[in-house]
Symmetry: C2
Subunit: 286 residues, 2 copies
């Protein structure tokens, strides 16, 4: 392993991986080294560009903290997250398609009763979301768990916004005997992913905007079924065709139907105008 | 740009790069996205593996500080640094081959006179290094600058070791009218690259040791010539064939000749036993 040149260095590095005990780790590292070297060789990366890459990766790591995951943003904006998601969740007909988790999921949301308002006092237009969780064939799944999170009308998740209480706009909900769920919230808005870090700078140089179309996140799970990590997107959002993280699927876009009747609003203990959204989830058996 | 699947997401991401103004940045990002996606698709990366990668990259960034560059270590140990070096420094016959810069170079070393001891009081076996800087055809290059740095006999650079004075084991030296240089130092030893971080953990799982064979770093430059970033390695070192960063080249290995004569040692104002090393550098015209 001496006298390595641009022509034999890849083979030499791959040989050092031969000793790896864990077959899967060996497979991953072998592929990674092969394509990383192919990339460097194809573009003939200069030393200045290499150093810029080192500095970019370092800054990306250093931007991360408890409420900020810049490497997930990088993965998201380069389409890696949605690719990993697609590979890992090949769905049957009738099962809800998945989309990216994103960096704002938090474990430990409280389980709330039907019709609960997960928005609390957060300002925004009231929304009632309801629907059914079923098998791909349409059989109801009682006791399915919906773990829900979303940003405020200003486009901020609780962890980004000191005005919001802890675990705001988050909640867990179980379906009833008919597989039905219902909860109240506020209408989400489109928002930029955090763009004050290295990934924001990258998007800027790429002449790409950082916006995501408005959405509500869900992880829907039930015993005996594959959990699905997904969103409901708001029909009509201007960013549906240019999501900064490539996550939009037609099957996940829902009509947020506007209602102006104060009497209708009073039924849900909210004020008009308000919106209703019906969305049905299909879970694929394990 | 909706309904992206594992089959069409790469094309969709590449399309967003079409708007990039800077042709070189566009070329690099296009190649990067293509091979990054190819890697993910080839190994069918699981979500747990993706998350482990995110966490590894984050920890690598967070390990970096003023005296530690973990991403350079990662680049070095995956052979990327030596590949970038080889691509950028295709040498003519008679020119000294380059090798990796490594993470311990510091600008601003003091210029010192011939025979200066860059080790100061640092404990170790005395070494006298001398030689000539020439053109590939062997014509002397007067006034060439040698920027030199190395680790102590314990294998630590100044920035890693609070026992060493600031800028210890570093110095700049100019060749004389005959292109000759000479300086004193201590014999370097093989040492592990810093392995208490994510890269060390990676090497451990790979069953690879973190050692580099003993060496002295040089950047040799002169007006009208391409600077060369290189090392002199110590002949006989046990790690010459398994350098953790793939940097060894036969042409860079030098005999450290042992001398036991106190009279010889006195000529250099050092004590026996000591070593002499002759190494001649060839610089390629710009």
């Amino acid at each position: 392993m001496r006298n390595l040149t641009e022509h034999n260095v890849t083979e030499a590095v791959l040989q050092t991986l031969d000793k790896i005990q864990d077959a899967r780790f060996k497979e991953i590292m072998t592929s990674l080294v092969k394509y990383l070297h192919t990339f460097v060789r194809e573009v003939e990366l200069t030393e200045a560009e290499w150093l810029a890459a080192i500095q970019f990766l370092t800054a990306t790591g250093q931007m991360c903290n408890e409420s900020r995951q810049e490497f997930i943003l990088l993965s998201d904006t380069l389409g890696v997250s949605v690719l990993v998601d697609a590979i890992n969740h090949r769905k049957v007909e009738g099962a809800t398609v998945s989309t990216v988790l994103g960096p704002f999921y938090r474990e430990g949301a409280a389980e709330v009763p039907p019709l609960h308002n997960i928005a609390g006092d957060t300002p925004g237009e009231p929304v009632v979301v309801f629907g059914q969780v079923t098998t791909p064939e349409g059989q109801p799944i009682p006791g399915a768990l919906l773990d829900i999170w979303q940003a405020s009308a200003q486009g901020f998740y609780d962890v980004q916004d000191t005005n919001q209480p802890e675990m705001n706009l988050r909640g867990k909900l179980r379906t009833d005997e008919a597989g039905r769920y219902i909860f109240r919230t506020i209408k989400p808005s489109s928002y930029p992913i955090p763009y004050d870090g290295p990934v924001g700078k990258m998007l800027n140089v790429m002449d790409r905007h950082p916006y995501r179309p408005a959405h509500i996140h869900f992880i829907v799970s039930a015993e005996g079924y594959q959990p699905v990590v997904t969103h409901i997107f708001v029909e009509g959002d201007p960013y549906l065709d240019s999501d900064a993280v490539f996550g939009v699927k037609d099957a996940l876009i829902a009509d947020f139907v506007r209602h102006d009747s104060p009497e209708e609003a009073a039924k849900y203990d909210i004020s008009a105008p308000f919106y209703t959204v019906e969305y049905n989830f299909g879970l694929q058996p394990v």
